[in-house]
């Protein structure tokens, strides 16, 4: 297991949180004008169309510094992540007892699957925060965004089901306020729908987690534990039906969050009404929380349930791809079309996961990152069109390429990534998902491949109606092209899109070992799940992470493999006092790193 002197994962989670608190503490005098105070979300009645605010007020500076610092830490993490030795387990693990009585640990770790989700989050947040023109209260906006970033990071990095659940739920709050505070005309309806729908789904997650913990306790020497690795080890010995039910609880919660057809109807409203930054983050990252949960909690912890329910999820995914494609084609609004297209993309992710082949799952993980880059970029570009034109209805647009040629080129590149043009990231992910699915579930893949055609139809038709054709509406005649600043903002996403398409190897090399390890687990737990044996490598895992044959009880709640004495001391100090833990008992650092 890889550790460093720095408690890097704790820093990654707490840095944005600290930034959010600083934003909150900033004096209100720093708001740019009094008229804006009335338009803040807290009044619940924003003033109509407040003017754009200079993003770089005091809150903006804090946000920028924190977001970029966060990005720097994450880049450091990616560079430092081991590639050799087939490292498959969690790295940089940091574990501190938090609420000891219930077996709840503050426990973080990163593996190949979460590594790039963390990287994508760190990349997308500064872009979403500083790319689109901000209207309204910048202090609150920066605060919510940083809180959201912290919660997302926490979800991706947590190795404790309680921490996961808390982080997962916290994301809803900033998500709600971002839509309700800075959204479009029907923002309140959309925000409420988003919140209630996903919160209802979370009830299933909560029940499943509690059920798992309670059922597992007798098999863990009577100790309750929320530790992911321990639970994963124990879950296999639970009765078959229990495992399936627990998995179903996870699946429903995450299916709403992802969302899988038929749980998707909150999505178009939310994405369409959200502000540009909100759509970028919601589509780019919040989606992935659900997909990631399905992988980390669903497949990893209860592989038997996952294997049993795989046909259902595969079918939902395949249906979602065809159904989503059909309804996407006919959309009359650019932003709504992009929102619906997301349903198709995430269905691909689920399809790849439950194919249980290493290509499929790796492709699914890559699709998660791809979708973040591509959809983030698309929503950003759509936001630019909206800022310039004030409408996104296809009937009002057309011929924009004439006045915005560079914008048209950038948009086309992103559209091609969404269509899956080889050489861009979308293709690699889509192809791996399909080839992996075909190997195990041929006919599902044959159906899903239809998206190759339909994606071209709806994306190119949309592109044509926005950028091509004669200029019929005089308002489209002299639209300002994308500015240098906007180009610089979108450039990192474009670089990612091209890089992952041309040279995905560094990505795949880090993801594949973790995926193989996961699939080994599925194969062991459910030998009839037809997991194709695709590798002959044994993966090195830290002893306390080997959920198959590790010493029983050794990896229990009390054991800790901290991230070095100095590091754990520092991080324990930053555990928020609100959590009710006393710092003295919180630290259980053995300092022992393998």
């Amino acid at each position: 297991m890889k550790t460093t002197g720095l408690p890097i994962l704790n820093i990654i989670v707490f840095l944005p949180l600290a930034g959010a608190i600083i934003c909150l503490l900033l004096p209100s005098a720093s708001w740019s004008s009094t008229s804006l105070r009335r338009s803040s979300w807290s009044t619940g009645r924003p003033a109509p169309a407040p003017g754009p605010v200079s993003t770089l007020g005091p809150a903006g500076i804090v946000g920028l510094v924190v977001a970029l610092l966060e990005l720097a830490f994450v880049i450091f993490l990616v560079i430092d992540y081991p590639t050799s030795g087939h490292a498959a387990g969690f790295q940089f693990v940091s574990r501190h007892s938090w609420i000891g009585a219930f077996g709840i640990d503050w426990s973080l770790g990163v593996d190949g699957i979460s590594l790039f989700l963390v990287a994508m989050t760190a990349l997308l947040f500064p872009i979403a925060m500083f790319g689109p023109t901000l209207r309204g209260n910048s202090r609150a906006f920066m605060g919510w965004m940083l809180l959201l970033e912290a919660a997302c990071m926490g979800t991706f990095l947590s190795l404790d089901l309680f921490v996961f659940f808390v982080m997962f739920e916290i994301t809803l709050v900033p998500g709600y306020f971002l839509v309700a505070g800075w959204g479009g005309a029907r923002r309140n309806y959309a925000a409420m729908k988003f919140f209630i729908y996903t919160f209802a789904g979370s009830a299933f997650l909560f029940v499943a987690i509690i059920a798992l913990v309670v059922l597992a306790a007798p098999r863990n020497g009577g100790h309750q534990t929320f530790d992911l690795i321990t639970l994963a080890r124990i879950a296999g010995s639970l009765p078959h039906a229990d495992q399936v039910l627990i998995f179903c609880g996870f699946a429903v919660a995450f299916a709403v969050k992802i969302p899988l057809v038929p749980f998707h109807s909150w999505l178009p409203d939310t994405y369409t009404e959200a502000p540009t930054a909100g759509s970028m983050i919601l589509a780019g990252i919040l989606f992935k929380l659900g997909a990631y949960g399905l992988l980390r909690l669903g497949i990893y912890v209860v592989p038997v349930g996952a294997a049993d329910m795989a046909p259902v999820l595969l079918t939902l995914a395949a249906v979602g791809i065809v159904y989503g494609s059909l309804i996407t084609i006919m959309q009359k609004d650019l932003k709504r079309l992009v929102a619906y297209a997301s349903i198709v993309d995430v269905a691909f992710i689920v399809l790849g996961f439950f194919a249980f082949s290493s290509q499929g799952v790796t492709g699914g993980v890559l699709e998660m990152v791809n979708h973040g880059l591509t959809t983030g970029a698309i929503f950003f570009l759509v936001g630019i069109v909206w800022e310039r034109r004030g409408t996104l209805r296809f009937s009002d647009l057309g011929g924009l390429q004439k006045s915005m040629p560079i914008m048209a080129a950038v948009f086309l590149a992103v559209v091609m990534s969404a269509i899956g043009l080889p050489g861009l990231n979308g293709f690699v992910g889509e192809f791996l998902v399909l080839v992996g699915t075909f190997a195990t579930h041929r006919w599902w893949a044959v159906v899903a491949t239809v998206a190759v055609i339909t994606a071209a139809v709806y994306m190119l038709w949309a592109y044509q109606r926005v950028f091509h054709g004669p200029v019929l509406n005089p308002a489209n005649d002299a639209v300002a092209d994308i500015s240098w600043r906007e180009l610089a903002v979108v450039a990192p996403l474009l670089v990612g899109i091209v890089f992952l398409g041309v040279y995905p190897r560094p990505f795949l090399e880090r993801v594949t070992p973790s995926v193989n390890y996961l699939l080994d687990r599925v194969e062991q737990a459910a030998p009839n799940a037809h997991v194709p044996k695709t590798h002959n490598v044994t993966y090195s895992l830290p002893a306390n992470q080997d959920v198959r044959g590790g010493p029983p009880g050794a990896a229990g709640a009390a054991s800790a493999s901290g991230s070095g004495g100095a590091g754990s001391g520092g991080s324990s100090g930053s555990v928020p006092s609100a959590a009710g833990s006393t710092p003295g008992s919180a630290t259980a650092s053995a300092g022992g790193s393998k």
């Binding site: 006919m330 011929g399 239809v450 038709w461």
Partner: protein, 637 residues
């Protein structure tokens, strides 16, 4: 052999420079840059070719691995090049014809505000096409395959402010994607069966008949999309919305032959399946005939050539399906010469008449275009398969193979040859002979405010040297190119060159008796001459002959319209239903119903909380009675 890397690298560099710096380079510098890169690529190809010539026939293959593209466990795909006789042959004419057309475009695109964008796309196209043919595995070929599709999209829709161009571009891409569906399924089958996409691994194993049929048909579906065969040919005529050099390069000489390449490359798979071979030859023959009938009645100078391209591609597949890959490839190369020549000449005509494309408004142009006219005539004779021009020899080889496969296929081929000669004669007569009809129309357009037409005094003018030089070179190739594979005197270079790729185990040798060969040749010449004569007879004096121009042919048998009405219409309605009825009302409606029921039950329950103590007391006592009743029942039993 590091020149191998230069073949794809030079156009790629050109494309990247033009993408980022094209606006600064401007006209004509960006055009020259693109031309130099394409020519450099051609030179590098020639160097590799010469070095391969120096080797033993069996050792003529160089592998160059560039980097590992997609490694996931057993799936390991390299971005690698394989330079063997087949790929180098394709590369030679792709870069050769590509260079000439890039040069020609400098003149043709003169004055276009998006001059640099055009040359970016041309270089990107040449790069993608090179990757397609040089790749050492199916997946990397697919990279190039989609790349050319993208460039074609960009080039057809180059004049994006025309609605027709934008629609045609989308149509081309989507139709190609239908074919790509087949290609992708084939890729999945390859991976599942071989665990590899490498030509080296895939093409040397024994396959069962049914698997080979499925795989070959899926690959052929890809080829059908890219090479515009039945039923996916509709995009190609519409693709003529692009600038004429694009029509010449992409939609005649190179990209559309990618399907022919794919089938030739997959020959070791196809030969395990007789069903696939029959499918390929029947589709080829049927497409050849169908497109030829439609071409007889088009009035747009480019649409005639577009349909003739579809028809000639059908011939190529007919040859390949009949087992004579050499003949199909021979025709591909010859076709690249003469069809590029025809399109570029047509471009010169259009240029001379200031964007007039209707043949009925041309006529008598032979007096004004001293270089274009003979060039077009040479292309015409080659396409009409009049000996000794290019088309005759390659078409003859295909017809011999078709005869060997089935006399019915041969008969279709000969009938098509007659029609080909007829519609090309009609075109030549209408454009270059007869009365000058352009003058009146030019006047009309001038009166309508199009002063551009009058700048040159109203008289058509010959194109600049950048445009005529490629014409002359291509004309020479169309006259002499057939010597590359002449059926006598030991001149069959292409067949000898490709022999290692199509050993008798893959393409069993067949022999057609010498007498039969002569007969086949004579019959096809007779049919071609008959077509030529009837064309002259019909169109020498008249411009409009309603009886020879039935509307059904002008509308291409109404197939396109019919498909739009019977398939696109219901599909659109279905999608509309899904979007706004099922998704909007049913799925979301259910959700709203659930939330509504919560709200409603909340409203109902609120009535219970009246605030009156007597009501609560009533409730409590009623509950207590029920519980007591229940408990006493349980206790009693």
């Amino acid at each position: 052999m590091n020149a191998a890397y230069l073949i794809p690298a030079l156009p790629l560099i050109g494309a990247i420079v033009l993408l980022f710096g094209g606006r600064r380079l401007r006209e004509p510098l960006s055009g020259w840059l693109a031309t130099i890169m394409a020519v450099g690529s051609f030179v590098a190809t020639v160097i590799v070719w010469v070095s391969l010539l120096g080797k033993q026939a069996s050792a003529r293959s160089i592998d160059k691995n560039i980097f590992t593209w997609v490694p996931v466990n057993s799936l390991h795909v390299n971005a690698g090049l394989q330079l063997d006789p087949l790929s180098i042959l394709w590369c030679l004419f792709v870069t050769g014809v590509g260079s000439l057309i890039t040069l020609y475009s400098i003149g043709y695109m003169h004055g276009d505000p998006s001059f640099s964008r055009f040359f970016f796309l041309l270089n990107a196209f040449v790069f993608s096409m090179i990757v397609l043919v040089l790749a050492d595995n199916y997946l990397f070929s697919f990279f190039g395959w989609e790349g050319v599709g993208f460039c074609s999209y960009g080039l057809i829709g180059f004049w994006f402010d025309r609605d027709t161009a934008a629609v045609a571009a989308k149509k081309a891409f989507v139709t190609n994607r239908v074919g790509d569906y087949g290609f992708m399924i084939a890729l999945f089958l390859l991976f599942q069966h071989f665990g590899s996409f490498n030509y080296r691994d895939v093409l040397h194993s024994h396959l069962s008949g049914s698997f080979a049929t499925g795989l070959a048909l899926m690959l052929f579906l890809g080829a059908v999309g890219k090479s515009a065969q039945i039923p996916l040919y509709m995009w190609l005529p519409d693709a003529m919305e692009g600038p004429t050099p694009v029509s010449a390069l992409i939609h005649a000489a190179t990209m559309v032959t990618a399907g022919v390449y794919l089938v030739a490359r997959s020959a070791p798979i196809i030969h395990f399946s007789s069903a696939a071979q029959w499918t390929i030859s029947i589709i080829g023959a049927a497409t050849a005939l169908l497109a030829a009938t439609i071409a007889c009645n088009q009035n747009d100078i480019k649409r005639v050539l577009a349909y003739s391209t579809v028809s000639q591609l059908g011939y190529m597949f007919l040859g390949e399906g009949s087992g004579d890959y050499g003949a199909g490839i021979y025709h591909t190369v010859m076709h690249a010469f003469f069809k590029a020549l025809l399109f570029l000449s047509a471009g010169a005509v259009i240029h001379a008449l200031h964007d007039e494309q209707n043949m009925k408004r041309m006529g008598n142009l032979r007096r004004y275009l001293p270089i274009t006219f003979p060039a077009f005539m040479i292309g015409f004779l080659a396409l009409a398969a009049i000996p000794p021009f290019d088309g005759f020899w390659s078409k003859d080889a295909i017809l011999a193979a078709a005869w060997h496969k089935s006399p019915a296929l041969w008969a279709v081929g000969v009938l098509t040859a007659f029609l080909t000669a007829y519609y090309m004669t009609r075109q030549v007569v209408l454009v270059f002979f007869g009365q000058s009809r352009w003058f009146d129309h030019a006047k009309e357009r001038g009166a309508a405010g199009d002063h551009h037409v009058y700048e040159a005094g109203g008289v058509p003018h010959e194109a600049p040297a950048t445009m005529t030089v490629p014409l002359v070179i291509l004309a020479a190739a169309s006259v002499l190119g057939w010597l590359l594979d002449a059926p006598f005197g030991g001149l069959d270079f292409i067949n000898k060159w490709l022999a290692p790729l199509f050993p008798p185990t893959v393409a069993p040798a067949f022999s057609v008796a010498t007498g039969t060969k002569w007969l086949i040749g004579l019959v096809s010449v007779a049919f071609a001459l008959a077509g030529l004569a009837s064309g002259v007879a019909a169109w020498r004096r008249a411009v409009d002959r309603p009886r020879l121009e039935p509307a059904v042919l002008e509308h291409a048998w109404y197939i396109d319209e019919g498909v739009s009405r019977t398939v696109a219409g219901p599909l659109t309605r279905m999608a509309n239903t899904f979007s706004f009825v099922i998704d909007g009302r049913l799925v979301d409606g259910l959700v709203r119903a659930v939330s509504g029921s919560f709200a409603a039950s909340g409203r109902q329950l609120r009535r219970v909380q009246t605030g009156y103590v007597r009501n609560y007391a009533l409730g409590i006592s009623a509950g207590a009675v029920i519980i007591l009743f229940y408990v006493s029942l349980r206790a009693g039993s």
